[in-house]
Symmetry: C2
């Protein structure tokens, strides 16, 4: 993974176990996600371990002056449709609230595309809560088309 | 994977290499996807092999009387947000055109949820092209909420 320090003083790297409290803090620090993210707990640790164990998932942090200032999760989804393209699927994009508007998010998304290209992805995709009008303008400004409707459904825990 | 023959005479199983021509045919047989799926080619074979190699991806077909009548791809995405939930991410849902409206799609989606529950998923998610009004009613009828906007962006091939 590229760890070059760019013009905003950012270093991108895969998250480490000790980053997890800060990552949960970033994901929670958001009007839409606060209630559903939960306080740091065992479930987040299990999620972190499952990401680490997966060959197709990366939890990426951006660091500046030794502080994690942004996070995102990248999943590489192989497929048959779209002419057999691998998709770069992006979840949990967050920039520290006090630093938003300074270009970190744009640089983060550029890094996502670089990672996707390195994995041969033909398409990047993400969904954004319908309540996030600012985020929608942000993604459209980066060349994303709001071409799809995103559906979600909670699943009850099964026997597995 | 459940291979019980249910009330509609369907058997669900993981796709095999020899199913690929039929799968591409199903994915292409769709006004929205035809142009972008392409004719069966090496790219689809590579996609199939990448799905087979992934521990978090399954290409599922529904078979009736020895004929593949529906397909979908399931990806299990571990995560930190949503309280550490694993997501059941669904792509490329297709039912043979001549059999639509007979309940196969509903049974296919039930099977998706069963697979997600068996993998401990707390949430199912998918996106549907904004042009697919019928599909949106279908997913809403199954309990999905159209809560998100789905963004897509083609990626140019990088050096990787």
């Amino acid at each position: 993974m590229d760890t070059t320090v760019g013009p905003l003083g950012l270093t991108f790297r895969e998250a480490r176990r000790e980053d997890l409290p800060r990552i949960v803090e970033l994901i929670r620090d958001d009007a839409v996600a606060a209630a559903r993210t939960g306080e740091l707990a065992e479930a987040h640790s299990r999620g972190f371990e499952a990401i680490e164990a997966s060959p197709n998932d990366e939890l990426v942090v951006a660091e500046r002056d030794g502080v994690v200032v942004a996070v995102m999760q990248l999943t590489y989804i192989p497929g048959i449709s779209r002419n057999g393209a691998t998709r770069l699927h992006i979840e949990a994009v967050r920039v520290a609230a006090e630093l938003r508007g300074g270009g970190i998010g744009r640089r983060l998304m550029e890094h996502a595309e670089e990672r996707g290209q390195a994995r041969g992805c033909g398409l990047a995709q993400l969904t954004s809560d319908a309540a996030r009008a600012d985020a929608h303008r942000f993604y459209e400004g980066l060349g994303y088309a709001a071409s799809h409707v995103g559906f979600k459904k909670p699943l009850a825990h099964g026997p597995g």
